[in-house]
Amino acid sequence: MGTESPYAERLARLRAMMAAERLDGLLCYGNGYRKDFLRYAHPAPTPSPYGFCLLTPEGGELFVEAPWDTQPAAETVQRVHGARTPAAVARLVAARVRALGLGPRLGLAGGEVLEAALYDTLREQLGPVELVPASHAVMELRYVKDTAELAAIRRAAAIADEGWKTFVRACRPGVPQYEITARCEGVVRELGAEDNFMLIASGTTDVYGMTPPSSRRLAAGDSVLTEFTPQVDGYYAQLCRTLTVGPPSAEQRRAFAIFRRAADAALAAARPGATAADLARAQNAVFREEGFGEYCTARYTRVRGHGLGLHFDEEPLLWEDVDFPLRPGMVLIPHPNTYLPLAGYMVFGDTLLITERGAERLTHTARILFEAGEDG
């Protein structure tokens, strides 16, 4: 690991945390459900359905399901180990911990998704070594993005902008929802995205939220909305936009104006020292002024935005009771996505980087209500 590695800064922060927490090693776990803690320690993607990265004060080793141990090692690890079953992988991990003489405190990050079959074997094989929950300590490091992380998020944001153009072109009367997402998926893959979290909805006042695509066909007068969330080198950026099939109705225009004002209010409020609650309140205030305060509740909406990074729904969640101060280097998306009786559920939001002076918008798609078939 030379100082040239783009991950040197991250590894240094992880090892400083390990020292502060008196951890003799750090085990970062990930699986098909969530790989974010694994990717923080081992940024290269692995096709393995699950894996551990063991960081020591001196080096790193990766443990995956064979044959994915044949993938080249990346900058943060020097050795890759493979076995066929979860129990065998867990035994390998424990054997290396013993061979390296790590202990008595081994941190475990990502343990929230660790399956019992793996945990039980690890626990049994580690003997007196204590597994210390370390997700919280690692998450503290993850809130503020380093240079390599921001570069990945900027690329993901650029792919989201390109993907939205495909979305706008794909939306036509008669097209089923799943065809729209298929066309978007194909494009973002070709552009180099590893994954994409994407939800969709179409309709008007019958739409209360977004889901995976159905076979419902678009009709004139529909609002069509999406959360578009490509992942590049592990990192997600998100773009929320709504379009209409045909010219927007007066209700759609009025509703969109409210969403746009709310999102603008969040953008204006986003700066170091402001809290997650401040951004939620700034958005909700617009709805309340317009007489739609009840649509800021859990009955109609989930959240006023969230952090972005190695997970597409990171803390802090933007709720009015989350007293979490924003810091330069944090990436988040405020989005006032909710149901309104005017035109149904709508979405609108951009990925923001908190800077020393305020916020930089990382997605650059026009902040307008689009019409299907327009140039996105």
Binding site: N31, G32, Y33, P45, T46, P47, P49, E65, A66, P67, W68, T70, Q71, R84, T85, P86, A88, G111, E112, V113, L114, E115, A116, A117, Y119, D120, Y178, E179, T181, A182, R183, E185, G186, V187, V188, R189, E190, L191, G192, E194, D195, N196, F197, M198, L199, Y208, G209, T211, P212, P213, S214, S215, A298, R299, Y300, R302, Y339
Partner: protein, 338 residues
């Protein structure tokens, strides 16, 4: 995450089929003296809950409560606004959105006076959930209950076979759409084009790995592939996954020969190690269609058991580093292509 078509068509997966599966599971519960079972599900490991209800989470997690008698209850860490969608796309009427599905499931069981509850494939539950269960309902004994997964016999379930065959046809269609040669494309381009073809044809989800000839494929990276590329394609149709692997740019005769060899490497009851030993010095990996994840890796000593759906993948230097893989039903006398 799932971004393809998720719908429940009772015409292809009848409500009666799902009800019969639930009744068989309840008979197994009764035989084991259990009051109920808990089935864990998340976006990457939904197979047992899918088998019983056709519920396919597109993200996040949930816990299905299956009582020994009566209707199941599904607790999901999703918004309550999504509940109508779940009820449309799965055969479960009692759906409850909540932040902590395991805690709520344990409370429900405690209210109902349950004493002994089976965890369907305990090892697939996140261990934090096991702790949550025990804290929320300390009077209940939560025990491992592998009987459901062991009794699946997916290969002999005609509905399961038909829907997997649909996924297999999608995979074939997708791979054919790439043409016969790499044609100067890099890995993301191949993956994007394959993904598009699969989803346009109705795939629920896909996983595409690509790499140069001679190497196990990986997450597609913008690197030159050369004249041939190893492509591993996993395709889901409404919860039913298949795995198919091919080498793009290989003469058709070579491809056919590799396919034939794979068919003849394995026989019902043979171990993975026995099949691998016949794989001309190459590596052979076997997976069983799943109790939790779509495919679960088999150890060398495990057998291809009659009734299983298995995926086999081989990469052999004797075949010039070509990759071949497919999904089979293990029948009493042979491995049947889907």
């Amino acid at each position: 995450m799932k971004r393809g078509l998720i719908e429940w068509d009772p015409g292809e997966l009848p409500r009666e089929t799902l009800a019969a599966r639930g009744e068989r599971a309840q008979a197994l519960l009764a035989a084991a003296g259990l009051d109920a079972a808990l089935v864990y599900t998340n976006v990457a490991a939904p197979q047992l809950a899918r088998y019983l209800t056709h519920f396919l989470p597109y993200w996040n997690e949930g816990v299905l409560v299956l009582p020994r008698a009566g209707a199941p209850t599904l607790f999901v860490a999703l918004s309550n606004r999504v509940v109508p969608w779940i009820k449309r796309s799965a055969a479960v009427d009692d759906v409850r959105a909540c932040r902590q599905p395991a805690v709520e499931a344990a409370r429900l069981l405690a209210e109902r006076g349950a004493r002994r509850v089976g965890l369907a494939e305990r090892g697939s539950f996140p261990y934090r959930l096991l702790a949550e269960l025990e804290r929320a309902a300390p009077a209940i004994a939560f025990v491992d209950w592998p009987a459901l997964a062991a009794a699946l016999a997916l290969a002999t379930d005609p509905v399961e076979r038909r829907l997997r065959a649909r996924a297999r046809a999608l995979a074939e269609h997708g791979l054919r759409s790439l043409g016969d040669t790499v044609d100067g494309r890099n890995a993301p381009q191949l993956a994007g084009q394959l993904d598009l073809a699969l989803r346009l044809a109705g795939a629920t989800d896909t996983r595409v790995l690509v790499g140069p000839l001679g190497r196990w494929p990986g997450i597609p990276r913008a690197e030159p592939l050369g004249r041939a590329a190893n492509v591993l394609c996993e395709v889901e149709y409404q919860g039913h996954w298949v795995l198919v692997a091919r080498t793009l740019g290989l003469p058709a005769a070579d491809q056919h020969a590799t396919s034939e060899r794979l068919h003849h490497l394995c026989s019902p009851g043979s171990t993975v190690a026995e099949a691998a030993a016949a794989a001309r010095g190459g590596a052979l990996f076997a997976y069983r269609a799943g109790a939790a994840a779509p495919f679960v890796a088999l150890a060398e000593e495990e057998r291809l058991a009659v009734g299983d759906i298995v995926a086999l993948v081989t990469l052999s230097p004797a075949d010039g580093g070509a990759l071949y893989g497919d999904t089979f039903a293990v029948m009493p006398d042979r491995l049947e292509s889907l």
